[in-house]
């Protein structure tokens, strides 16, 4: 059973054991507007929590994607290269960015759950 976490940078992580699938939140995708380009991390890359490892660009601007936890990239969603609009259509599903292993589960404790994130994004 996977558990959903959010970061203050508006990324979501679906954690299953010691692996996580990562993307940007539906809220973030809405704020960003039409996504026209996604640059994904290299598979196999070891990343540290907070490191900028990917980029998402809308018509207007480019935003960094940070590693939400430390670990190793195990997969990248290549479908986004040809269909970046998937991020707007299904941010927390088919619009996932990458999968990674989690090297330090303790880092998850600083993240928000669904309710906390809903509060965080309340205007």
């Amino acid at each position: 059973m996977s558990k959903l976490y959010y970061t203050e940078d508006h990324e979501w992580l679906s954690v299953d054991g010691d692996t996580a699938t990562v993307g940007i939140s539906t809220y973030a995708a809405g704020q960003l507007g039409d996504v026209v380009f996604v640059e994904l991390p290299e598979v196999g890359k070891t990343v540290k929590k907070g490191e900028d490892i990917a980029v998402v660009e809308s018509v207007k601007s480019a935003s960094e994607i940070y590693a939400p936890v430390s670990g190793q990239i195990t997969a990248a969603n290549a479908a986004l290269e040809d269909a970046p609009e998937t991020v707007n259509e299904d941010a927390q599903g088919a619009g996932w960015f990458f999968k990674m292993t989690i090297s330090d589960a303790a880092e998850l404790s600083g993240l928000m759950d669904e309710a906390a994130y809903a509060e965080f994004t309340k205007e």
């Binding site: 507007g33 039409d34 026209v36 380009f37 640059e39 980029v55 660009e57 809308s58 018509v59 207007k60 601007s61 480019a62 290269e81 970046p84």
Partner: protein
């Protein structure tokens, strides 16, 4: 009655249309000291495409409008010719020109539209529309340099509405008291829906369209009247920027500034023959020399060959060596890919030249292309 633009608590000014734009779903952001809609619910991509296919309505009331007023056309025109390289003496009644306000060194302070009224009653008047970000300095510069007998009157009591896109003439036709059937860069004073307006067939999207100057107190009535037509949607500054970039049009302060001359900025077309022969505009010695001898850098269109957009400030390299910089870059919704423009070494300013764009410290292939990215669709009769 509202005179000028009200300031709100956050220190941002509001145009006469700000509340209407907000009520239509405009996402307001600070721009040049104003709260302006950057986009509406549809988003930039759809707004951009709507404008290229139908009619987009833009609140551009933040732009600076002014009249330069002298005793007769020639006197007023000559006063402005001392500040800009345009042929204003040769402007016929109702004609509009794009021109450049120059520093004494020939650098570009701003770009602007200069219009001669078609009506004999306004003989000796030229109307200016300048960029919002520079209206204060522009008007101060112009006012301080006008000769005795010619004065500048800013018109903060006027709003400006741009309606742009191939269906615009069709939208306006039923409301124009006398015909709105002028050609690109012509203007007239007329009534739309009974409201007195200065209408010019111009804009900054590359599409056919009109800019309508109206007294602030009638701006809402006019905008609401036009928005009743299903072909018209309100469009934000985000799409305005992507539309003008695809059309190869410069953004003042970005694609040129006081450090760039018209020749470097590839705007030599705005210096007509009569002015090249006679000179007499600021920086003329340098600009005329550059016209014959060239410059070290030139503004060009640059097409990233991959999918990654290259934003303003991106370095342009050739074989690993710096040769220039992107000044406007993003995604072209109609073009269907990333688009950019910027300055490169003049010998590289040739369509087809392969370059590299340093996006996030990686070299991405790109090529110099002829502007615009999307064909201009002006109505020339």
């Amino acid at each position: 009655m509202l005179s000028g633009h009200e300031m709100q608590n956050d220190g941002l000014k509001r145009t006469p249309l700000a509340s209407l734009m907000e009520s239509l779903g405009g996402k307001m952001v600070p721009f040049a000291g104003y709260a302006m809609p950057v986009q509406f619910a549809d988003g930039i991509l759809k707004e951009h495409k709507w404008t290229r296919a139908n009619c987009g309505l833009f609140d551009v009331s933040h732009m600076g409008q002014a009249f330069v007023i002298g005793p007769d056309h020639e006197t007023t025109a000559k006063a402005l010719e001392a500040l800009m390289p345009g042929d204003f003496v040769g402007l016929k009644p109702g004609q509009q020109r794009y021109s450049l306000l120059l520093t004494d060194e020939g650098g570009i302070m701003d770009d602007l539209m200069v219009t001669r009224s078609i009506h004999p009653h306004f003989e000796g008047w030229l109307m200016l529309v300048v960029n919002a970000a520079f209206k204060g300095v522009d008007f101060a510069q112009i006012a301080s340099r006008l000769p005795e007998g010619v004065r500048l009157e800013a018109a903060p009591d006027r709003a400006l509405i741009a309606v742009q896109g191939p269906k615009t003439a069709e939208v306006l036709a039923p409301h124009c008291e006398d015909s709105c059937d002028m050609v690109f860069m012509q203007s007239k004073a007329s009534k739309i829906g009974g409201i007195d307006c200065h209408i010019s067939r111009s804009g900054y999207t590359g599409e056919d369209g009109f800019e309508i100057s109206v007294k602030s107190e009638y701006a809402n009535d006019l905008a609401r009247l036009l928005l009743k037509n299903k072909l018209v949607k309100p469009i934000g500054l985000g799409a305005r920027d992507s539309l003008r970039l695809e059309a190869g049009l410069c953004l003042s302060g970005h694609d040129f500034d006081e450090t760039r001359t018209p020749v470097e900025a590839s705007l030599s077309w705005a210096i007509p023959k009569v002015r090249r022969e006679a000179g007499g505009f600021p920086g003329a010695t340098r600009i005329l020399r550059e016209l014959s001898e060239g410059t070290t850098q030139k503004r060009v269109g640059i097409k990233p060959l991959g999918r990654a957009p290259a934003r303003e400030g991106t370095q342009v390299h050739l074989d690993g060596v710096y040769v220039g910089e992107i000044t406007s870059g993003g995604f072209g919704p109609t073009f269907g890919g990333p688009v950019a423009m910027g300055y490169v070494r003049a010998d590289l300013a040739v369509p087809g030249t392969k370059l590299e764009l340093m996006v996030r410290a990686k070299a991405h292939p790109a090529e110099v292309v002829k502007l615009p990215f999307v064909p201009q669709n002006y109505y020339r009769g």
